[in-house]
């Protein structure tokens, strides 16, 4: 059985493997033709800056989905991070960020415990958290919006949204690259990565092979909450205000879409980290394309829907 032959099947497999990248390339090509001034440095950094949220939450979502679960609470967790950080900003920026992250980790811990230990369905657990956590975020500031003032601490916070490294690179590159690298490292190099995929692929086998699936799931949901918290903080820094009602609204759906377009199987077991990155960039590119061509934004939604369906169709796995 060791004779290797390149066949039509193999070529189809290759096409499937790189389908997300091909889609992205096709989008870029299309823009080259139709969009004036598309290939400017400004456009590129624009895409990067705006895709910060979806890449961060997308990394967490990739992990969660490869355990066979889903986390629809990330948008609400972003809102919680935003509100808590503003509320505690008076104690300094670093303490504020730590408080925000700790608050969000609690949400992740609850999700992980319910899914991992009590074996409640992830969709239901995170749905409850999505409602509850956003509620908490609003209650903390009586449903009002936090606006940044012009004091020194607010200026520090805004620095996280608008600073340019070396005068050119948007600061969002830092969390984006870090989150991708760390996620890649976890999946490729560590025991945790193996355990995540094994848990998603066949939980029975995983337990009998000595894997502590409960701990694995708790870590995964806490990581997702952590990344959502960071995404929330960077989003607030960019906007300059924090609204418990609208911050991170529907972010979970963008993250799931990026994961799906990227080729990670929704039934768990196989994580495609760079796929998610490409998926996130593709989604962002659609928005920008529509904007730069003065097309009504609502069309972007329709295009996104088409891309999601096409991508998932190409990657569908033939079940036997």
């Amino acid at each position: 059985m060791s004779n290797k032959t390149a066949t039509r099947v193999d070529r189809m497999e290759t096409l499937r493997k790189y389908s997300a990248a091909i889609l992205l390339a096709a989008m870029l090509l299309l823009n080259l033709i139709i969009t004036p001034n598309f290939f400017g440095v400004g456009t590129f950094w624009n895409i990067v800056t705006q895709s910060c949220t979806v890449i961060l939450t997308g990394m967490g979502m990739t992990m969660v989905i490869s355990t066979g679960g889903i986390d629809i609470s990330v948008g609400a967790v972003m809102a919680l991070a935003g509100i808590v950080s503003m509320k505690t900003l008076q104690f300094g920026l670093v303490p504020a960020i730590i408080c925000a992250i700790l608050a969000c980790l609690c949400s992740g811990l609850i999700a992980g415990f319910m899914v991992g230990k009590l074996r409640v369905q992830p969709m239901v657990v995170t749905l409850a958290l999505m409602i509850g956590v956003r509620g908490v975020a609003q209650v903390i500031n009586d449903g009002k919006i936090f606006y940044m003032t012009s004091d020194a601490l607010s200026a520090q916070y805004k620095f996280l949204g608008s600073h340019k490294l070396f005068g050119a690179l948007p600061i969002q590159l830092v969390p984006i690259l870090l989150s991708i690298l760390v996620t890649y490292f976890i999946f490729e190099k560590t025991i945790l990565g193996r355990h995540i995929q094994a848990t998603g692929d066949n939980p029975n086998s995983a337990t009998l092979a000595g894997i502590n699936t409960t701990v694995t799931l708790i870590i995964v949901y806490m990581t997702s909450a952590f990344l959502a918290a960071v995404a929330g903080i960077f989003a607030v820094a960019k906007i300059g205000a924090s609204d418990g009602n609208s911050l991170g609204l529907l972010a979970e759906l963008d993250a799931i879409a990026a994961v799906a377009v990227g080729g990670t199987s929704m039934s768990g077991g196989r994580a495609k980290i760079f796929g998610t990155v490409i998926g996130a960039l593709t989604m962002q590119l659609i928005t920008i394309t529509v904007n730069m061509n003065n097309i009504t934004y609502e069309y972007a939604q329709v295009f996104k829907a088409i891309i999601i369906i096409v991508a998932v169709y190409i990657q569908r796995e033939k079940t036997s």
Binding site: T5, V9, K189, R194, A198, T207, N212, S265
Partner: protein
């Protein structure tokens, strides 16, 4: 016997990424014929069947069925042509009633357009009745045993006017009595001029029911003969190509009287399945657990491995009282468990051979949670060689391997941990003769190295060949221990039968 040809497959080719699974196979079945399709795991049997039933699309060759060329793209298309398959995992809906399952997807309508339940019930009763099966068809399917479920699947196939019924390992989870019923049904199909393709690893069954045998080997046709031209040894030779060696007991004499005890379980109770049983295993000993389905063998092994907790009882491991709360605890102490159902409780299907093999070992070849790729590759290459695992590469997803090779990978998963005890639950179920001999040889090799083995098997001959001592179980109690030469079919059956309480007759015991 020159009967009309029903199915004629010519030059079938099927390629998977990196593997040529079928290299131009010819296969033909006559009308009303019971035809065995044989071959080792990985020989291409299932692939051929899947190409026929539309699950896979063939890459080359022609299929002629009932006089016309067909090219089914889905199972439904194949079914419309008259080809029905009874799978190992039954494709029925357990929560629906028997009659609903019989008519799934082709429900008769009343004149109002609603589902005609009365017609369904009557039709089901008639079809099953003709097969000699009399059950309450209005009960959910899941309330019946595997055998009845299988009959329902066959009944369903018959009532869609199948001309060819394919049975993939239909007897693997049936007891003797149920197998007899199945064979009666097959004979009735034959009377109706329906052809049957029968896939099984049990040679006796092939000789009992089949008229013709086609043997595949490494994706090629190895032979196609009438059953009268074959005997068991010849058949095995066709399957594995080399001079078939008979499997025989290799050891004699029991040398463990003074040996150090590795572990013992005392007075274990759990639900209704384990009723105060105790066993002990010596270092380097192969201990067998014999008993019928439901006698508590697997349950006992799972307690020892920490996969379930007993209601009562104690476990002593190397002289220490231990409580294994999870498999992790047991693995740390040096245990490994090759489970009965590889698909559900063994393999992690989409991960590679490499990952599957080392999943339990990872903590030992990692620093700060980071896995050493080199150590991992070395170990994997070593075991692929040592256990002769057939895989295109260590990075191949394990689900693409044949059953025997999957089992070897799972065995390697524990061997690379340097275990003290390996539990093997039905280690050779669904595995062909060649791989079986290899796995049995490995078991002996392990014992020789001082590793203890706890072996559960429904095949008494297997226990006889491999075990130093056998504990015979029934209804969660130990009936008797047999040592060395005492281990044989007659003794074990006798012990099981005599262990029943007086109300239960012997006949019932055997078919528990």
């Amino acid at each position: 016997m020159s009967r009309e040809i029903l199915l004629d497959m010519k030059g079938i080719v099927k390629t998977f990424p990196g593997v040529r699974a079928l290299k131009g196979v010819d296969f033909s079945v006559a009308k009303g014929e019971v035809h065995a399709l044989m071959g080792e795991n990985g020989a291409g049997k299932s692939t051929l069947i899947k190409a026929l039933t539309g699950i896979y699309q063939k890459d080359g060759g022609t299929i002629t069925f009932d006089g016309k060329e067909i090219n089914p793209r889905t199972v439904l298309e194949a079914q419309k042509e008259g080809i029905s398959t009874i799978y190992q995992e039954l494709n029925l809906v357990p929560f629906q009633t028997v009659y609903e399952n019989m008519y799934l997807g082709r429900e008769p309508r009343t004149s109002y357009g609603t589902v005609d339940r009365k017609a369904m019930i009557e039709g089901s009763l008639k079809t099953l009745g003709e097969m000699g099966i009399h059950v309450d068809v209005t009960k959910p399917l899941k309330e019946f045993g595997t055998a009845v479920q299988q009959m329902v699947a066959i009944g369903r196939a018959v009532s869609v006017n199948a001309k060819l019924v394919i049975m993939d390992e239909p007897t693997s989870s049936l007891d003797k009595k149920e197998v007899a019923v199945l064979f009666d049904v097959i004979r009735k199909l034959k009377e109706k001029n329906i052809a049957v393709i029968f896939i099984s690893h049990r040679l006796d069954e092939i000789f009992e029911i089949c008229e013709r045998v086609t043997i595949l080997k490494d994706g090629e046709l190895s032979g196609s003969l009438g059953i009268e031209e074959l005997d068991q040894l010849k058949l095995i030779t066709y399957m594995i190509g080399k001079e078939a060696k008979q499997l025989e007991r290799t050891k004699s004499g029991y040398n463990f009287d003074g040996a150090q005890e590795l572990t013992s379980m005392k007075n274990i109770w759990q639900g209704v399945r384990l009723n105060g049983i105790g066993i002990d295993i010596k270092k380097g000993e192969v201990l067998g657990l014999a008993g019928l389905l439901g006698s508590g063998r697997t349950e006992l092994a799972k307690v020892l491995f920490g996969a379930t907790t007993p209601d009562e009882g104690e476990i002593i491991w190397m002289g220490q009282n231990e409580k294994f709360k999870s498999p992790r605890d047991a693995i740390r102490k040096g245990m490994g468990f090759c489970t009965e159902d590889r698909k559900v409780e063994g393999i992690i299907p989409h991960l590679s051979v490499k990952e599957n093999m080392t999943i339990a070992l990872l903590p030992q070849i990692s620093k700060m949670g980071v896995v050493s790729k080199k150590a991992q590759s070395d170990i994997v290459d070593n075991y692929i060689k040592r256990l002769k695992i057939k895989t295109p590469s260590p990075n191949q997803a394990i689900r693409n391997l044949s059953g025997g090779n999957q089992q070897k990978v799972l065995l390697a998963r524990w061997l690379c941990m340097n275990p003290k005890l390996v539990i093997m639950d039905e280690p050779t179920r669904g595995i062909d003769v060649g791989a079986k001999a290899e796995i049995e040889a490995l078991i002996q090799e392990l014992a020789g190295e001082g590793i203890s083995v706890l072996m559960i098997s429904s095949e008494i001959a297997e226990l006889q060949r491999n075990c130093d001592r056998v504990v015979v179980m029934r209804e969660g109690v130990k009936l008797k221990e047999l040592i060395d030469d005492e281990i044989n079919q007659d003794n074990i059956m006798e012990v099981i039968a005599s262990g029943g309480n007086s109300e239960i007759g012997k006949e019932e015991v055997v078919h528990e």
